[in-house]
Every structure is written in C-alpha cells, then in structure tokens.
Symmetry: C2
Subunit: 425 residues, 2 copies
Amino acid sequence: MARFIALQAHDVRFPTSRTLDGSDAMNPDPDYSAAYLRLITDAGNGHEGHGFVFTIGRGNDVQVAALRALESQVLGRDVDETLADLGGLWRELVHDSQLRWLGPEKGIMHMAIGAVINALWDLRAKREGKPLWQLLASLSPEQIVDLVDFRYLTDALTRDEALEILRAAQPGRAEREARLLAEGYPAYTTTPGWLGYDDAKLARLCREAIADGFTQIKLKVGNDLDEDKRRLGIAREVCGPDIRIAVDANQRWDVADAIEWMAALRPFGIAWVEEPTSPDDVLGHAAIAKAVAPIPVATGEHVANRVLFKQFLQAGGLSVLQVDATRVAGVNENIAILLLAAKFGVRVCPHAGGVGLCEAVQHLSMFDYVAVSGTAENRMIEFVDHLHEHFVTPVEVRGGRYHAPKAPGAGTEMLAESIAEYSHG
Amino acid sequence: MARFIALQAHDVRFPTSRTLDGSDAMNPDPDYSAAYLRLITDAGNGHEGHGFVFTIGRGNDVQVAALRALESQVLGRDVDETLADLGGLWRELVHDSQLRWLGPEKGIMHMAIGAVINALWDLRAKREGKPLWQLLASLSPEQIVDLVDFRYLTDALTRDEALEILRAAQPGRAEREARLLAEGYPAYTTTPGWLGYDDAKLARLCREAIADGFTQIKLKVGNDLDEDKRRLGIAREVCGPDIRIAVDANQRWDVADAIEWMAALRPFGIAWVEEPTSPDDVLGHAAIAKAVAPIPVATGEHVANRVLFKQFLQAGGLSVLQVDATRVAGVNENIAILLLAAKFGVRVCPHAGGVGLCEAVQHLSMFDYVAVSGTAENRMIEFVDHLHEHFVTPVEVRGGRYHAPKAPGAGTEMLAESIAEYSHG
C-alpha cells in the first residue's frame, strides 16, 4: 500500500518584467512565477504528482506558504484511495472550516488547494498512462458528477441536470476523440498584443501570427484611448478584415468607462472585450454586456470560484467563459464550471499564457469537447509563446491549433533544472 | 523625521475549540486566532500601530506570512506623510499589481493589507490622542472621501454623492457625539446561541442576556431542522415575545434549502436570517430575500470587498449589512461600505465576536452614527463575551449597549503577555 510521503513546495520566478512580456493596463511589470508543488509517494514507481499556482511575482512566497500549510492534510494518505475519490478529497479540503475562513473559497488558500488537486490528477493520469484530457473523457457520467461539489450551484445546475448533459454527449465521444487526435483544438494568440511592445514589434508579431495560422489575436487596451485606437488601427491594417481581434482591458474600467471606451473601439471590429471591470462585478458585467452588444463580453481568469461563474451565467454577464487552470480549486471545480457553461450554452475559451497555463488548461478544453459540450465551434484556447521550454511536455501549437497531448499526466511538470535555476530567495 | 523601522507579525491562537465557544453549522471547532501585527517607528514617543486579521486556527501561519510579505512596502516610510494620506497608501497597496494577482482584492493578501491599514489608523489615533471613531468623525467630508477608492463603485456611488451624504450629516455631529458618549450604542448578543451548547446552557444564557439588558439575541441554525425548531422553541419561551431572535446559518444552505428552512422557522418570530448561503452569491441572496420577506436577510462577515457589497445593495440581496473589521482592506474600505449602505438606506449591524472584532468594529458603527448615516435606529453591534481580557482597552458593554471608547487608538492592541502566552508553534 503506497502513501504520500512528501509535499515539496518551490518558489519559482522568471524575470519576465525585463522584456515587458505580459505587460497590460493593470500589470505593468509582471515576473511570471509559480508556487510549485511536488507530491511524492513511496510507491517506488517513479511517479510524482506536480501542480502549481501561477502568480506574477511578489507574494509568490505567501502562495508557497499556503501550499506547505496543506502538508498535514496530504501526508500519510493512502495513494490508491485518495486518487480513486478526488471528489471526496476536494470536499474535505475546500470545506475544512478553519482553512475556509481564509477565503472562503477564494484567493491564496483556495488556489493552494487547487494546486494539490491538480497535482493529484497529474499523478493519477501518469499512473493510468493517459494524458489528463483522455483520462477525464474516459470516465462515465456518474464518475464525472461524483467529482463535482454541487453545493451553492443547485439553483442553476443540479446533479441530475449535469448527468443529462454528460449522457447527451456520450454517443459521439469516440469520434470526437479521434478527430481531436487528428486535428487538434483551435488556438488564438495574445503574443502580439502586450502594451509594452512598440508599433514595429506589434505589426511584426501580427504578421507572424497570421503566418503561423492563427485566425484570432488579442490586444491589451485600457491605458489610453487614443493609443488603443492607434494600435488597433495598426493591427487591423496588418490583419485585414478576416482575422478576429479581441481586446483585453484587464479590469481597468468602471462600468461607464467600459461602455464609453468600447463605443469608441467598436469600428475596429472587436471579437470580444475581456475583463472590462472588476472580476467580482457580476452586475457590472451584465450592464456592460447589454450596452456593448453584439460585442461579446469575456471574463474568467480572475473569477474566484464556481459560485461567481454561476452568477455571471445567470445574469448574462459573460458570453465567453475563460476558465483558468490555477485560479479555482483545480480540475474538479473547473469541471463544475464546464458543466455550468454547457447548461447555459456559453462557449468556453480558456485563459492561458503565464507560465504553464497553456500546458495545463488545454486538457480542460479537450475534455469539454469530447465529453461535455461536445463542440469546439467558435471556441479557442489562448496561446502565448512564453516559457514553454521549462516544461517536461510543452504544448505543441502548430497551424493555429493545439495538438492533443499524448504524454501521460496533466502537463504540469516543470523541468527539474528550471525549478532549480529559477528558485527564488 | 520619524520612519517605520519594524513590522512584527505574531501567530496568536486561543484554544476555544475545547469549550465549543464559536461552534456553528459550518465551523464545528474553531480556535479563535489572530495574525497579529505591530508597526514600530523610531519616533521615540512610545506609540506603536497594532492591527490583526481574525482567523479560526489552521492557516493563521499563512496569514502571518502575508503580513510579513508587506514589510518591504512599509519599512522606511516617513510616518507623518504616511499617516496624513492613508487613502493614498490604501491605493498603493491594494493596486500593487503583483500582490493584487493573489486575490484580486480578496482573501489572505487583501486581509493582510487590511491589518496594515488598521494598524496605521491605530497609530494615527494614538498620536492624535483620540479613539478612532472620534478621529474619523472629526474629519471633514472632503478628508473622508479622500480615504475612499471609488474604483468599481461609480455605477452605484460617486465621490460627489458620497460628499453629499457626509455633508448632510454634518449639522448634527456634535449632538450625536455627545449622545454617544452619554448613552453608548446598542448591542445584541450571540453568546447564548452556539450550536455546541446544551439546552440548559442555552436557556441559562438567554436569561442572562435579558438580565444584562440585551433586546436581541442570535442563535446558530442550519445543521438539523428539528433541532433548530427545538432550540428556537426554548429560546422563544425563555425570552418571551418582545426580545428579538435572529438566526445565523453560516452559509450552510443552497438557495432552495434556505427558503424552505426559513418557512419552517418563521413561526418563531425571526429578527433576521444571517448568511443563508455562499457569501459570494449575490443573486442567490436576492432570491432568498424575496422569498423570505419580510424576514430581513443579513450578511457581510465573509463578503470579500466593496465590489461585492455594492452588488448586494444593488440587487436587494441584503437588508442588514454586517461589516467586519478584518475581512476587507481595513478602515478605508469599510468607510466605502458605510457610504454605500447610507446611499442605499440600508442599516449596518457589524459582525463581531471572534477575538478583538468587538474592540475594532465598534469604532466603525460609532463613526457611522456621528458622521455618515446619522442614525442608530434599529442598528446594533454584535457582542460575544469572549477573549476581551486579552486587550489593552477591552470593550465595555453594559445594559445592552457598547459604551463609547475614550482611550486613544483603534482598540486593536492586544496585551503583550497574551501575545506571548498564546503564540503558536
């Protein structure tokens, strides 16, 4: 009988602020970082579970402290039993009353629980010899709903309704899995759009994006309206009318600002407006969505949990739902969110970029395609071409599409050399 | 010129789980704790700023790590300049983009910023020789709005509207201050109502509450409906028809559960239902409020920030707003929330209890009475008779009323012996 014998947490930081990669209207100088977690067992099979929380620098040490605070909840557990009931463990960790007080279900402690859950899924997928998306897509509807905590969701989605959604998607599973393995999943790129880049670099990166096969790019906006118009003008000219251009304000605006700003940007042809205001402001997003229609409103990377996503869907506050692999409490909560999106018929276009987010979140979209929504139509996973070289199984994005990963695991394992080289403090 | 020269953080935990003080439907065994902060200057005047985050045990060490992470933002600053512009410092800390990523504006990092802000107010009040409520109530409307960040609020409350509210309350300030000093502020007690107490203790504590002059008590509910009916029956029999009895579910229910449960408890005469469901569920609270009317819905102790409070008010999700001294980013954010409540005409009845929350939050209600809402009608501050002996200036609650504190400071200073004796690990 194997047990968990060690939880190792690492404060890994990449000095991305030097090149202004990742610069936007709210985050002028991020240092992409990971509060990184390794779960080690005494099984003697070489398998470890790896997970992380993505942060942008200062405070990554506090996130690491939160990972370490979960050690006593993990060590000594039976590995087989734990991996066989990750829904049970999710409830136990998220509803631990003392830890819950620190959120509840939001912020540093909630994300730390997410990293533990994700690391356990990584371990389970490695042991079963499957990439995570394929492992999840091989579960029965009953097994999938057992992973989900429906507490606080039942006014919008019950267990029975979730089962119906999953059962309705069963017939085409094998065909979609084969198609995914053959064709991959659509991507869009944010690489050209960071605010810190000059015009020549913006234009060059737009051209490269098109040459690489992308059909949507995304530009950061929100600092200065005239600047935004100028940069959108450059991008639209380089891209022509057929490439979709989304804009991302990174929460810069109040409700009235967002409405006014988007009225001015509308002529450039906007695929969606992302994070127009506070990610807690469900009603504000609903007001913005109504005013800027038919431009879709997108949000999610800072939406703290399934309860807030539920309300965004109930209120019509978003029409592009951007799950994030490390903001909520891991794979299980993201399955709840995918089911909510399916219930409300809203498309899911994950947030990625940062460090390791592309590697992790692709599994969720692919699982969704095979076993939940059953469609990839008008859906895309964000892609940013940074820091993939630090991962054991980096994403493969070619021709504007994520190739379906085939390596066992959740994609979350960083190279040991990278962890060592970029460990902080 | 004085500077901040040290930030000391202490992990203080009281073993309250041994007696089941504080036990409710979601928190069966809390150990009331404080991530406790001392800010030390080289002014040589003996004044320190003290603040804390209240937690219930495990994870208090992570909260302490978050306090320490703010050291570099505080040390070396000019004390006079900092205290003269606490609105500026609030913006600087809350909008630090790297720290903000860890919330944003919620959870461990946000509460840590709140403790720093509260400690600075404690220091400022000590230097000015006033209790915090009186210091705040002596500021001009312009000075008060300068303390508030209106970002994300302007669709509900603008700076100009806040100024109007404060100016309207100016005429009666002196009279209300005199009345507060003479008569105090109304309190209600939760002491009888913890779930872990047996029937005899419940009845005895109800009798004592009435003898002590309280006109409202609060009972914890939500674990078992039959039990709740039985306990409410005992309380109502002991209290008679004139004492108000509120119930508190501590987030135990989904929306439909809350509605059903409250229909069953309605015959006992319910003063309000508190935390019926997730504190993030604005729309859920609005649905519950509509269904259980005229029973008022109360929430706030776990509401993460002013943006969520704004929406609760916009949606009609609460009619009793329960500010908490250490959940949001300190005094400044609580002033924003008091102004929002005044704008919407909703009464404020703060959450207290725990450790030090009564000492801290009374200042907010008293400031509100003198300078914001201008009324204490139908308003009460929660009182729980635990752990006050550990504070330098413990609350004085007599005859069912909080006596207005006269000692300089924010009430947040714990006895050095208590810090030493209950320091953890």
